[in-house]
Amino acid sequence: MEKVLFAHVDNPQQHRIETYLAAGGYQALPKILREYKPDDVIDLIKKSGLRGRGGAGFPAGMKWSFVPKTSPKPKYLCCNADESEPGTCKDRVLMESDPHLVVEGIIIAAYAIQAHQAFIYIRGEFVFPAARMEQAVEEAYARGYLGKNILGSGYDLDLVVHTGGGAYICGEETALLSSLEGDRGLSRIRPPFPAIEGLYGCPTVVNNVETLANVPLIVNRGVDWFRSHGTEKSPGTKIFSLSGNIKRPGNYEVDLGTPLSYIINELGGGVPDGRTLKAIIPGGSSTPLLLPHQIDTPLDFESVAQAGSMLGSGAIIVIDDGACMVWTAMKLINFYQHESCGKCTPCREGTAWLKQLINRIEDGNGRPGDIDLILDICGNIMGRTICPLGDAAVMPTESIIKLFRNEFEYHIEHKTCLVKTSYPLA
């Protein structure tokens, strides 16, 4: 299968602008500035069918078109590089190995929405990727791809690399904007949507790193080429981060619509010998689980949704029969509780209560009725929060209980795991 985003992932020099240029980099940008009006770029991306790779799969071109053209306010573009969803580690590799691809994508997207200031918001722990991006931005300035009058086109753009403080919530677009403004990273109610009132109250587009990295490729090689990958509604390729009980974990780029089994078994080599597959988290830790019989589900937005889960950010976490599902649920809820921003009541209080209950069951102190209480609390969080973090905590929890209720019941009754796991559990 053709690698496009990862075409140069194995070249240790690819991060340097000379290498990027030699490999055909920065050819999309001059073409755009010369031949495309901003609206034409939006049209092109709309036609390509490119969908957001940050989790929600929202059509990128459509998002850009929401930016009001007549607004006198400045417009902003933010590249979301906060990548903190457990299991997800694709943006990091893109930024480390091919930072100029991301920068070029940012410049084109900024041009499309006529922003003159763009930001890359990188999670604080990403010291190395941030350094790579900084260097790329510097090189791009030096060569006139950024700054005033880019390539003589009259278009100006400044790009700032901003590192966050290391909070999962700052990947959520409105919290990202609050954080970028210097405030606490708390999510905000929508509407207004960022495209209308985002950073400093001005129209703002937030796109994921991988989404933006696709843009120069689409410009260079065309819509038809892009659509030759993936499915009708989910065109293109996608980087999947494969982790968990798998022989060969890692990032794999495949066409959207590739069956899950191909990634797990062919690319990942399947679960360790002697183990059997128990469940799969298909799209990052906030998505409901799939069962082994669903392993042939094609990995595109529609098919995964049809199977009862979500493609999300494309982080596939494989769980084999050695894992206790109560423990799994506990690890997940502990994460979400820790990362709740604390702004809205259901998420702040609900995740904390869930954590207490699930930990109690895991610790062998569960009580009869706890499982239904958990589900009831989940119901009081789901759909009642400001941002989807609350839902993200609930979805895997509910799903695990629904699929593996017997393990919870066993825990409560016998004060120990039904599954005797042999993994070192941290």
Binding site: E339, K343, T345, E349, N380
Partner: protein, 848 residues
């Protein structure tokens, strides 16, 4: 029925149709027809953040419940606030909020007025499914749990009770522009706390206590004193500033327990400053004067009312009849009720037959012959606080705004934040408005006139003036002194380009405002600056009500309107004579400084002072004290013994504003009534009683009861006429030459501390917690030159006096300007100042 096209929207809530303006939230639409939706994080004056999720409603065609506080109405919307899903959602949110809540209602001071209590009662359940120990985080530093941490001089935080609505933090940031309070940590470990190394001590700090929906923020003032349901409320007005903050006093038969806001959108929008909130406390001070005093053989001793009244009546009659009525003068503080001032005025003019009455006791009036028209016109301008919201530019000049006019300041902040008004400030020191100012100009002390003249030149040079033919402008320019922009700018020490740019921005504004304050009022150049400002407003075409010199006291404008000033307009004199059915005496009345001068010249023998302390506050200590000492007969009515009562032959214990009904007229000319909360204690009498009883004892009682007086005052206040500003009139401006101050290099500003006003607030324990003692405030650079650190003792000396004070170093001060508050009886700061503008001092370090 209203259709989409217009500015209204019609929707259905719980089966009832309602039509509301576009942009209304679903919550407010529901409220407008009496449908109750519970809320925690919503506040009518704060931006909605949709955080608590208590206000969820179902809206047809929306898959998820929506937050009504942040959802705008739409035409044809169908809303349910009572669906099963919503009832369950509310129970869910309440259950969450109560998980770790201590339920210590019996000992919580919010009990009885707590939103969490009320909403739980109405919408919650009485059972908890939470079977864990309640979360109690141990404070790293104090090793205590979250109970009761003092985060400001008055504010105590109990984090266990917090519902994390962020109202407190949002108020600070959105409304007050203060950052001394914040939210820290994350998830359910979120804490509300003072900023690191800081205290929550901004002048609006008490508002966060009031808007906290639970008992997480309480104040010392109210804690553990009374249960709210045992108190009664009186509508009142803060007596400490001219803005007219509407407050409510909470009291029982013994005492007042607190003051809270009483939202009036025309004035304060429900926010009050700490002086309004805690400034009632002097009423309950144990130091109050409790009985009349009479001076016998040089010592004041307690006397009965009969003795004291008899003595005053006899002496007044003697002096009036033997020496002449021009030998008696009356002075009243600017925060007596309008009714009291009206009666005082009448007593002086009809019984004592003297026109020498005044309320302007805290600035030096000028020599005779000064043209005061322009100044008076601006001082009484028909300004409306709420109109500031429509401003697109404002110049705040010669005013430490936040301090002098806390409410006007908030409205200006709102104009900047919400309507993007461009604010410019020009002052001798930095103010706290830097964060919202486009430019903050600092002129050299005493160069107010030069500053305005520079602006006038800049307007004329650039031909930016309105409503004025070129010839007129040229002619005006030729009569200005200093005579050019460069010269004037040089004098005030501001770059020419900044003044030119200010002129351009004011001239290009559609709706500019010009507001001036106490640095102007206190200046000996007051009338010259007034002339210059008048010209400025006219050249810019600023309408009458939008250029104003703001009054300083709660009832300054009331005093103007009831005529408590020596010279009266013909109209007012006529109406007063008609009301009193007696002619106004035709002698010339003297103003405050003329009165003191006349005492020294032995032309005035007797003075009556009502609720004022000129011995400490009049900005020429040596002069005023010499005059008061020289007086033959001094009568003072006040709440406390003061430097002034100490000199009196007779002292009357005076009731405070909360002990009587009355009204104040704020700087807009808005008359606002206040109600009595408590009767005056035993021997204390109100100003009205004192005046009436003196008149009666003199055998010349004042006709009419209090109701008649109230009507008369209302009529005077409401029918008061003023000559409007004449838009094409200009005044000559000739600033007096600066006074020499050889050997005294530092300019001393004297005024109110940030947390005090006048000489009464020293008797308010809560305010004392903010500032306990006097100090001299100076710039870091001056401190360095003097070699002093914070709190070091220095000697401050002028030609007339010297004081020893601790140093306070302030970033807001630059160079050689220093400040000393005159709110503390311990130091009579006015001994350092003299009447010809000599406010210059030298400072020396005291070596231990």
């Amino acid at each position: 029925m209203a259709e989409n096209g217009g500015n209204t929207v019609t929707l259905t809530i719980d089966g009832r149709q309602v039509t509301v303006p576009k942009g209304t939230t679903v919550l407010e639409a529901a409220q407008s027809i009496g449908i109750d939706i519970p809320t925690f994080c919503w506040h009518p004056k704060l931006d909605s953040i949709g955080a608590c999720r208590m206000c969820l409603v179902d809206i047809e065609k929306m898959p998820k419940p929506a937050v009504s506080c942040a959802t705008e109405v739409a035409q044809g919307m169908v809303v349910s606030t009572t669906s099963d899903r919503i009832v369950a959602a509310r129970k869910g949110v309440l259950e969450f909020l109560l998980l770790n809540h201590p339920l210590d209602c019996p000992t919580c001071d919010k009990g009885g007025e707590c939103d969490l209590q009320d909403i739980t009662f109405k919408y919650g359940t009485d059972k908890s499914r939470f079977a864990f120990p309640k979360l109690r985080i141990i404070d790293e530093h104090t090793k205590t749990t979250f109970d009761d941490k003092r985060i400001g001089p008055e504010i105590i935080r109990n984090m266990n009770r917090c519902v994390t609505c962020f109202k407190c933090v949002r108020f600070n940031k959105e409304i007050a522009g203060e950052y001394d309070l914040g939210a820290y940590q994350r998830a359910n470990h979120t804490v509300i706390d003072a900023a690191p190394g800081e205290q929550v001590d901004n002048i609006y700090s008490g508002n966060v206590v009031e808007i906290c929906p639970v008992g997480a923020l309480t104040n010392t003032d109210w804690r553990y004193k009374v249960r709210v349901w045992l108190t009664k409320q009186a509508d009142s007005i803060s007596p400490h500033d001219a803005d007219g903050q509407n407050i409510k006093l909470w009291y029982d038969h013994r005492r007042i327990f607190r003051a809270t806001s009483r939202r009036n959108d025309a004035v304060d929008e429900g926010w009050i400053c700490d002086l309004a909130r805690y400034g009632y406390q002097f009423i309950d001070s144990p130091d109050r004067l409790m009985s009349p005093l009479i001076k016998r053989q040089g010592r004041q001793v307690a006397a009965t009312w009969a003795e004291a009244l008899e003595l005053v009546a006899r002496r007044f009659r003697d002096i009036r009849d033997k020496k002449g009525s021009v030998c008696i003068a009356g002075l009243s503080g600017g925060n007596q009720s309008a009714e009291t001032m009206a009666l005082f005025n009448r007593f002086f003019r009809t019984v004592l037959r003297s026109n020498s009455v005044d309320y302007r006791l805290d600035y030096i009036d000028l020599k005779d012959g000064e043209i005061t028209e322009a100044y008076n016109c601006l001082y009484t301008a028909p300004f409306q606080i709420a109109e500031l919201e429509q401003a697109d530019a404002a110049l705040v000049f010669a005013s430490n705004f936040i301090k002098e006019h806390p409410i006007v300041n908030l409205r200006l902040r709102k104009a900047v934040r919400k309507s993007k008004a461009r604010l410019f400030t020009a002052n001798p020191v930095e103010t706290k408005s830097a964060d919202i100012s486009v430019d903050e100009l600092i002129y050299r002390p005493d160069t107010e006139t030069a500053f305005v003249v520079a602006l006038l030149h800049a307007l004329i040079d650039q031909r930016l003036y309105k409503n004025c033919p070129d010839g007129r402008a040229m002619e005006l320019q030729s009569r200005l002194s200093p005579s050019s922009l460069t010269e004037a700018a040089g004098i005030c020490g501001i770059e020419v380009e900044r003044i030119s740019s200010l002129a351009r921005q004011l001239a290009s504004a559609q709706n500019p405002f010009i507001l001036a304050g106490d640095y102007l009022t206190a200046s000996t150049q007051r009338y010259q600056i007034g002339n210059a400002l008048y010209n400025l407003a006219n050249l810019l075409g600023v309408p009458d009500g939008k250029a104003i010199i703001l009054a300083s006291h709660a009832d300054s404008i009331g005093a103007e309107r009831v005529g408590l000033r020596p010279a009266l307009s013909a109209d007012l004199a006529g109406r007063l004579a008609e009301a009193w059915k007696e002619p106004i005496p035709d002698s010339t009345g003297l103003n405050t400084s003329q009165i003191f001068r006349a005492i020294l010249d032995e032309e005035i023998d007797a003075v009556m002072i009502l609720g004022a302390n000129p011995a400490m506050r009049y900005p020429d200590g040596p002069f005023v004290n010499a005059a008061l000492d020289k007086l033959d007969f001094l009568v003072v009515a006040d709440l406390f013994e003061t430097a002034t009562t100490a000199k009196a032959d007779v002292v009357f214990p005076l009731a405070g504003w909360a002990e009587q009904d009355g009204s104040f007229v704020n700087l807009e000319g808005r008359q606002q009534r206040f109600q009595r909360a408590l009767p005056p204690k035993a021997e204390i009498k109100t100003g009205l009683e004192i005046i009436r009883e003196i008149a009666e004892t003199m055998g010349e009682p004042l006709a009419g009861d209090d109701a008649a007086l109230r009507n008369e005052t209302e009529r005077l206040v409401s029918s008061w006429v003023r000559r409007p500003r004449v838009m094409d009139k200009f005044y000559d401006v000739k600033p007096a030459p600066p006074v020499g101050h050889e050997g005294y290099p530092y300019r001393l500003l004297v005024g109110n501390d940030l947390h005090h006003v006048g000489y009464l607030t020293e008797h308010c324990p809560s305010l004392i917690r903010f500032t306990r003692e006097p100090y001299v405030e100076l710039s870091p650079s001056l401190a360095a030159r003097l070699g002093v650190d914070e709190a070091a003792l220095v000697r401050v000396e002028s030609t007339t006096g010297r004081l020893v004070l601790p140093v306070r170093i302030s970033e807001q001060f630059d160079g050689d300007v220093v400040f000393i508050p005159n709110n503390f009886a311990a130091v009579e700061v006015n001994t350092l100042v003299s009447r010809d503008g000599g406010g210059w001092v030298k400072i020396e370090r005291l070596d231990e």
